[in-house]
């Protein structure tokens, strides 16, 4: 009984202390703040840097004086990658915090119910850094997103086409595909396989990889039995590391084409650069405009490392574009009004602006005078089509001893004409 009582007292005390501690640290509000909602899987390892990058972009905007003279306050909620939790977070951001803009989520399985059951019915604009599912395009074509949905992550289709071009250029004849068994991976695996078949490239096997298995020996053995001369990987670093190590140790080919999710230092370090010298990856990017290098520079300054995690550039651009649109829409604008201004801040005929504090300041003046701007961000001159899908050119990159180097650009026209030629 004594022990019980002790636990009770201890529990009550620690709860009280926790609350006091938290209250004491509450940030003092500036004279005027505007809240924006951010719902990201911060409890997942790769989700946290995305949240940090989002906050970083907001900090830059606040340094420029904020949006419509108000400081932007990020209300960050964890989605736990669980649709129930994600929708609840979004609901409370919209209902309780009254946000007009929601950034998130990462996984399409979370973004989709948020979009259909929270943001669209409540007229809140939603912009995702990382959801790639083709289902969003269909939903928008049915007119069910009310133009409130945007994403800065290229659709699976653009990514798959870029990968196909690289595979063709390398002249591979037999390719094995490993894809993550989720919405993104299934899309990628299917689209790349379809493209390759049209090109006459033999797909030896296409293998779904489930998360968190202790070993991928069976999958790798199955892949290697088809004797491919190259592999295509649409995987995340954790599973990618395990599979590639297994693959190399069984004597598989070192020729690989990988998706942008493996553009990470962790992947290079844990597999070992000497095995990845022949690997080539795809990502969405643009010709080297000043702003793309500028992003890398300011990112390094802030985080002391290169922006090499999945989704970081996309998260940065999503935040910047959304805040620019908010600025263009004026004070206290609602979701549809902000969404309407997205085209004015990503106007190819507009004045180019850089993705930093100075750029945002410049944009404030131009937008105030009724002009339009062309945002040049971390993934280039971002533009959206009517479905909120980004059309971005692609970039091919390779690993180097010390990091990652961009090898060449694949322009949008090139991708389009290539796809027309095989269809």
């Amino acid at each position: 009984m004594k022990g019980r009582a002790k636990i009770k007292v201890w529990g009550a005390m620690s709860a009280a202390m926790l609350c006091i501690g938290l209250l004491g640290n509450q940030v003092l509000a500036a004279d005027c703040t505007t809240k924006i909602g951010v719902a990201l899987p911060t409890s997942v390892d790769w989700g946290r840097p995305i949240a940090a990058t989002t906050q970083f972009a907001v900090d830059l905007v606040n340094e420029a004086g904020g949006v419509s003279g108000c400081n932007i306050e990020v209300v960050l909620r964890d989605t736990q990658n669980d649709p129930k939790v994600g929708v609840d977070a979004a609901r409370s951001l919209v209902d309780l915090e009254k946000v007009k803009l929601l950034l998130g989520a990462v996984s399409s399985g979370v973004s989709m119910p948020i979009l259909t059951s929270v943001t669209v019915p409540s007229n809140v604009m939603q912009m995702s850094c990382c959801s790639s599912s083709t289902a969003f395009t269909k939903l928008s074509e049915e007119g069910k997103t009310k133009g409130l949905w945007f994403r800065t992550f290229a659709t699976s289709e653009v990514q798959a086409n870029a990968a196909t071009i690289l595979i063709k250029e390398q002249g591979f004849k037999n390719v094995a595909i490993f894809y993550k068994n989720d919405d993104w991976g299934q899309d990628m695996g299917r689209l790349v396989a379809d493209n390759l078949k049209k090109l006459g490239v033999n797909v030896t096997t296409s293998i779904a990889i489930n998360d968190g298995q202790a070993s991928y020996q069976a999958e790798v053995a199955k892949g290697i039995s088809g004797k491919p001369d190259a592999i295509y990987l649409a995987l995340y670093p954790k599973e990618g590391i395990s599979i590639v190590r297994n693959w190399i140790s069984l004597g598989g080919t070192q020729e690989m084409v990988v998706a942008n999710s493996l553009k990470s230092d962790e992947f290079r370090d844990k597999v070992g650069f000497k095995y990845l010298a022949a690997a080539i990856g795809t990502d969405t990017s643009s010709p080297r405009v000043d702003s793309a290098t500028a992003f890398i520079d300011i990112y390094k300054e802030r985080f002391d490392s290169e922006p090499n995690g999945p989704g970081l550039s996309n998260a940065f651009d999503a935040t910047m574009i959304a805040l620019l649109a908010m600025q263009a829409a004026g004070k206290d604008a609602d979701g549809p009004a902000i969404a309407k201004e997205v085209s004015r801040v990503t106007d190819p005929q507009g004045t180019p602006i850089t993705a930093d504090t100075a750029g945002f300041k410049k944009a404030i003046t131009i937008l105030h005078d009724g002009g339009s701007v062309m945002y040049q961000g971390a993934t280039g001159n971002v533009q959206f089509d009517k479905n909120g899908d980004v059309f971005a050119p692609a970039v091919a990159w390779v690993f180097t001893e010390s990091g990652i180097k961009e090898e060449r650009y694949v322009s949008l026209e090139e991708i389009k004409s290539f796809m027309d030629s095989i269809n």
Binding site: S43, D88, P121, G185
Partner: protein
């Protein structure tokens, strides 16, 4: 103010839907002693079947029969029952931990099935395109959510009353008798395996009903909705509330779901800006700590089972 009401309506809807599933588990574990580790599978079977039966056709997918909604919902629950019947026949001779592992395996297999059967379940992309009943008539989403909440509460109340009546009927005593001492029940001429199977199926039908309502509310379902975390959440709600007590199951659900979501709200509000990106992890620690401390404080649950002696000898 309207925002707070809107959020509370939403919160109550989800909590009430989960409570239905917790009541189903309470019949299985609390009253009959069946350790069902595969709640997510029966919840998911109800959810997927409801959308497949009541939804609109989607491309080349099988399904989308646009059946009248109450029938689709009933079909979903029935589907969960069918799954339970098959699983039950195979596994109910297993006891305790063995049954838990077997049913857990069923749930993993179910998730894998819906993730890969893209011609029917949409694979990892999930199923959408469900027209929520009456939504076109009621244009105001806020009013619609209130109506939806009323329907869910009505279903919850019916399930609650049904289970209470069941437990106080001779069948309820039979369940408890089998839970406490199967051999003794058998010696009195009862057939434990049949009763266990019945309880397992009825509980699973109730879980399927919850799944159907859940999928209807979001008008979307994907494999991410039926991961083992769901099973854990439902179990935590029952254990904290009090296994064997339906009122406990209700209270436990609302409490755990409030902790689960409220901890995120609290952290986003009060944690310092620099720590914000770590709040996701902190939230998990907080949720775990609260569940553990509740179990230390009240291991029998908030409302423990009231043991009734059905016939007092005088």
């Amino acid at each position: 103010m309207i925002g707070v009401i809107s959020y509370l309506v939403f919160f109550t809807t989800i909590a009430a839907i989960l409570a239905i599933a917790v009541l189903g588990l309470n019949l299985q574990w609390g009253n009959t002693g069946l350790f069902n580790g595969g709640v997510a599978a029966f919840f998911g079977a109800g959810a997927y079947a409801t959308i497949l039966l009541g939804g609109t056709p989607q491309g080349e997918h099988i399904g989308g029969f646009e059946i009248f909604y109450p029938l689709a919902l009933a079909g979903g629950a029935l589907c969960a029952g069918l799954l339970a019947w098959m699983v039950g026949l195979l596994t109910l001779k297993l006891r305790h931990d063995y049954l838990a592992i077997a049913t857990f395996g069923v749930a993993v297999a179910f998730e894998s099935f819906v993730r890969n059967t893209s011609v029917m379940t949409g694979g990892a992309l999930g199923l959408r395109g469900f027209e929520r009943p009456l939504e076109a008539l009621i244009e105001n989403p806020f009013l619609y959510n209130i109506l939806f909440l009323l329907v869910v509460v009505l279903v919850l109340a019916s399930v609650y009353v049904f289970l209470q009546k069941l437990l106080h009927a001779p069948f309820g005593r039979l369940l408890r008798a089998i839970r406490e001492d199967e051999t003794a029940a058998q010696s009195l001429g009862k057939n434990p395996s049949e009763v266990r199977l019945t309880a397992f199926i009825v509980g699973s039908v109730i879980m399927g009903l919850a799944g159907g309502l859940y999928a209807t509310f979001y008008a979307f379902i994907s494999p991410q909705d039926v991961v083992p975390t769901l099973t854990f959440q439902i179990w935590a709600m029952l254990i904290v509330g009090g296994a064997g007590n339906n009122l406990g199951a209700l209270v436990g659900t609302f409490l755990i779901w409030a902790v689960w979501t409220g901890s995120g709200w609290c952290l986003s509000k009060y944690a310092p800006v620099e720590a914000q990106i770590y709040t996701g992890t902190l939230q998990y620690i907080l949720i775990g700590a609260i569940i553990v401390s509740m179990l230390l404080w009240r291991p029998q649950g908030i409302f423990p089972e009231k043991l009734v002696i059905s016939q007092s000898g005088d």
